[in-house]
């Protein structure tokens, strides 16, 4: 293994770092975790809408990653794979915990103007939280993370059309008017 300075390591891409981590390089692993912590946290937060829970989920996901990394096979992008890890961790968390809708704290919903808008937002979020796991996953990845249906299909291990269907269902349940342009997205 060629010796790399830390700075060089920082410049390695995910797959290179994964390969090194799999070979036992803990610094490579550390860089990976640090590099993706924010992304993981963001996803976790969007899932549970609560800072502490999101931190817990992210932490668990990071720990899982330590063992899971050797099974990353490069069939999808590392980040896709990571999304999946976080979402699965979040689902585990959700199954073990009380309904996340009850945990909506003040900090989570802060719509700047007007009480009424705030209530609408809160209501909307509650509806999102109540979505079935798969629809919620698809919605958060497509609308929350801005991924294409194709990418989400990889993450969710299903067909693209299934993702579109999840999104469609989720929108229906949330009472969102369908945007024609969006329909052909991905």
């Amino acid at each position: 293994m060629p010796r790399h300075t830390d700075k060089m390591m920082q410049n390695l891409d995910d797959n290179q770092l994964v390969a090194r981590a799999c070979a036992g390089d803990s610094r490579a692993f550390e860089i990976l975790v640090e590099r993706h912590y924010d992304r993981m946290f963001r996803m976790a937060f969007k899932w549970c809408r609560n800072r502490e829970s999101a931190e817990d989920i992210t932490q668990n996901a990071c720990i899982k990653l330590a063992r899971a990394i050797s099974s990353f096979k490069g069939r999808a992008a590392f980040t896709s794979w990571l999304y999946r890890l976080v979402i699965n961790t979040a689902i585990d968390w959700q199954r073990q915990n009380v309904k996340p809708t009850e945990e909506l704290g003040d900090e989570t919903v802060a719509v700047p103007a007007g009480v009424e808008e705030k209530m609408i937002a809160e209501e909307g979020l509650a509806k999102v939280m109540a979505l079935p796991e798969k629809e919620k996953t698809a919605l958060l990845l497509v609308l929350g993370e801005g991924l294409s249906h194709k990418e989400v299909a990889v993450i969710m291990e299903c067909k693209e059309s299934t993702v579109s269907w999840y999104i469609f269902e989720a929108r229906k349940k949330l009472g969102v008017k369908t945007d024609k342009k969006e329909r052909h997205h991905g």
């Binding site: 060629p2 060089m8 920082q10 410049n11 891409d13 797959n15 290179q16 390969a19 090194r20 799999c22 070979a23 036992g24 803990s26 692993f29 550390e30 975790v33 640090e34 590099r35 912590y37 924010d38 946290f41 963001r42 937060f45 931190e55 992210t58 990071c62 720990i63 330590a66 063992r67 899971a68 990394i69 050797s70 099974s71 990353f72 096979k73 490069g74 069939r75 992008a77 699965n88 900090e107 989570t108 919903v109 802060a110 719509v111 609408i120 937002a121 909307g124 979020l125 999102v128 919605l139 958060l140 609308l143 929350g144 194709k150 990418e151 291990e157 949330l174 969102v176 008017k177 369908t178």
Partner: protein, 698 residues
């Protein structure tokens, strides 16, 4: 609410990450990573997390761990293919999508770029700062590989399917304030399509139920351990087949107890013939954890003399679906059954039912004395059509019942390679059908053949619910072992619903772990419940169970109660506390009985023996000659258990290595008349040389 509002709703108010939480997560992950590395030095492939991630869709064919070499080969290819050019444009805050001809470039110029890759990385590193200002190619080369690995990479490249579309590269600008690599655009590459489909082994399609290893339990919290015995051996034969064909078996294919029970052990037989067996308990030091001890429980059922064997009414239920049309399936099966015929008595009856599309009776019940007719029927079987297992099972049971011999052995022997894909495909329905039939006195044994489509879980379930044995037959030798040599144990049940319960003594033992038997765990209240089904013992069967225990540092001489469970002040058995590790209870029913009988024995300190040859070593003073160490059988079974655990990942086996297993097994080979133990040692050697994750070359 419209699209825009929903988007805002989802994305607004996501707080910035907290530095402390982040640090904590990173540190915990690093600690786990260090642990994982320690484990994987023993462990060829790490925990299959991908499998766990996908456990909700495990039905899809998986390329499993044994393919990791190939997959990694694929990954290296992917890295070469990602020699894509991502451009980070100045002041670009939104996602930039660039389509490049990266794949073609990558593939055609691979040799050159591979050679250059290292330099490129370093060049990138030196100009990191410049990156934000100018569009600059970002190399994402694979680690430079030399020699063989490079050639294999090229080979992979050639074999890889051309990607249908160039990959979409998006460079994302992280918004996080504390981004560790701010100058590094996050290349998110969907390289799925560029992935070669790794030529994975057929075995990846064999279905195994994933079961977590039995965990370490604290005696104080859970002093009682209960499980059903298991006399199946299919796991060992399957693993042997895998190792012989050069792949490490899937971890889920490894059931340690089945590996251990594959071998015959000469444990003590009961003095009194009224009891079908008696347990032999040995305590030895653990070879894999210093300070730990193993409690070894051996059970040997008495054998039935050939002349005393009851009449057999056997129905061969043979899978003749198209998938059976392989040398190691139907032809092997026919030969196996012919062997079995030779070991049957003249007035035993045999019938043959096939299932493929329509279930059919290929041979009405026929006396073995008319052997030519049976063989002709067997020979006329051909493979073709789908698999309607359930129909076949119904017909087979009907035949067995029509010819039922109350004093004899009535058994359906199912031979198949896997799924029942037509008819009743509902696993549970099939299971309950077999369970009901069991009450009528017809038992079921399952013989597995071939691989690629092998449905282990189904076989296990069926055999377990049908009071039968599941065996896997990979060659004629194995057929001989199962159907001739062990015919009496395969066919004649001497005790059914055999359950074992061990209560550990908290004064002596702080923790325990049952090695294997994960799929056989019972609730402690099931032990005395005669309605709860458990495993059966055939004539001459040997069953072994091993507990890995952690003794309490110093054994207290007085303890308030025998096992601490009682809240009363008076010690129940003060004399026992320092002398017993625990108490073994065994329940069984006679083959036709409905009420269980109980056998008990303490696991005493007196039964402790060193894990060494029985020969009295020079210099040691032995009271009785040739009983110094644990018996060959005990030591050999411990070696097999060690190997099984290593194959499962070596989570609990400390420093134990394949070499240790080989040494232990060598020293305990004993007579080994059929060479099974020698074969085991060769298997361990094979496993040892089998490539682990090819990450050592990096």
């Amino acid at each position: 609410m419209d699209e825009r509002q929903l988007k805002d709703l989802l994305n607004n108010d996501v707080p910035a990450t907290d530095g402390n939480a982040r640090k904590r997560a990173v540190n915990l992950a690093l600690a786990e990573f260090a642990d994982a590395q320690k484990d994987s030095s023993k462990n060829f492939q790490g925990k299959g997390f991908w499998t766990r991630l996908t456990d909700r869709s495990n039905q899809t064919p998986r390329r499993d761990k044994m393919n990791s070499k190939l997959v990694y080969g694929g990954m290296a290819t992917a890295m070469a293919l990602i020699l894509a050019v991502g451009a980070t444009l100045p002041h670009m805050n939104n996602t930039a999508t660039l389509r490049t001809g990266a794949i073609q470039n990558g593939a055609s110029s691979a040799p050159g770029s591979m050679g250059l890759s290292k330099d490129k990385v370093e060049a990138d590193a030196s100009s990191t700062l410049a990156m934000a200002e100018m569009a600059k190619p970002m190399a994402a080369p694979a680690e430079a590989k030399k020699g063989d690995s490079f050639n294999s990479l090229l080979k992979n490249l050639k074999e890889s399917q051309p990607a249908p579309a160039a990959p979409v590269m998006e460079s994302m600008v992280m918004t996080g304030a504390a981004n560790i690599a701010p100058a590094m655009p996050m290349g998110r590459m969907m390289v799925m399509d560029a992935m070669p489909q790794p030529g994975y082994h057929d075995v990846g399609r064999d279905k195994f139920e994933h079961v977590e290893d039995s965990p370490v339990k604290q005696v104080k919290a859970e002093p009682v351990s209960t499980f059903s015995i298991d006399v199946d051996t299919s796991s060992y034969s399957f693993i042997r087949k895998q190792l012989n064909s050069g792949v490490l078996p899937q971890k889920d294919a490894v059931r340690v107890e089945e590996m251990v029970n594959y071998f015959d052990y000469n444990y003590a037989l009961p003095e009194d013939k009224a009891e079908p067996f008696k347990p032999s308990v040995t305590v030895t030091p653990s070879p894999w954890n210093e300070g730990h001890k193993l409690v070894h429980i051996g059970i040997k059922g008495y054998d039935i003399a050939a002349t005393a064997k009851p009449r057999s009414n056997l129905v061969f239920l043979i899978d003749t679906s198209g998938s059976m049309n392989e040398q190691d399936k139907l032809p092997l099966l026919k030969n196996s059954f012919k062997m079995l015929l030779d070991s049957l008595k003249a007035d035993d009856t045999v019938s043959i039912v096939t299932y493929a599309g329509n279930a059919g009776i290929a041979l009405e019940p026929t006396k073995v004395s008319d052997k030519a007719k049976i063989i002709a029927a067997l020979d006329s079987l051909g493979a073709g059509g789908g698999t309607a297992g359930a129909e076949g099972i119904r017909t087979a049971y009907q035949l067995a019942e029509s010819n039922l011999d109350k004093n004899g052995v009535n058994r359906v022997i199912l031979a198949t390679d896997g799924d029942f894909n037509i008819g009743i495909t509902d696993h549970n329905e099939l299971k309950s059908f077999i369970e009901r039939e069991r009450a009528s006195g017809v038992f079921l044994s399952v013989l597995g053949f071939g691989q690629g489509n092998y449905n282990d879980q189904m076989m296990q379930d069926l055999a377990q619910n049908g009071n039968g044995v599941a065996a896997y037959i990979d060659n004629l030798n194995e057929a001989r072992k199962v159907l001739v040599q062990e015919a009496s144990s395969t066919l004649f049940t001497i005790a059914k619903d055999v359950k074992i319960q061990v209560e550990f003594n908290p004064a002596m033992v702080s923790e325990y772990r049952l090695v294997g038997y994960e799929t056989r765990a019972l609730a402690k209240e099931d032990f005395n419940n005669d309605k709860v089904d458990a495993g059966d013992i055939g004539a001459g069967h040997a069953v072994t169970a091993i507990y890995d225990i952690t003794p309490v540092g110093t054994a207290p001489s007085v303890d308030p109660s025998r096992y601490g469970a009682s809240t009363s002040a008076a010690p129940a058995r003060p004399e026992a506390t320092a002398l017993e590790y625990g108490f073994l209870k065994l329940r069984y029913k006679l083959p036709n009985g409905d009420t269980s009988k109980l056998i008990t024995t303490p696991i005493s300190v007196a039964g402790e023996k060193p894990l060494a040859s029985t020969k009295c070593p020079a210099g040691a003073e032995c009271l009785v000659a040739d009983s110094f160490g644990a018996s060959d059988d005990v030591r050999f079974s411990v070696a097999v258990a060690g190997f099984g655990q290593l194959l499962k990942g070596g989570k609990y086996t400390g420093k134990l290595s394949y070499d240790d297993v080989i040494v232990m097994a060598q020293g305990a080979k004993g007579d080994d008349p059929y060479g099974y133990r020698a074969e085991f040692i060769n298997l361990v050697r094979l496993a040892k040389t089998m490539p682990a994750l090819p990450n050592t070359e990096q």
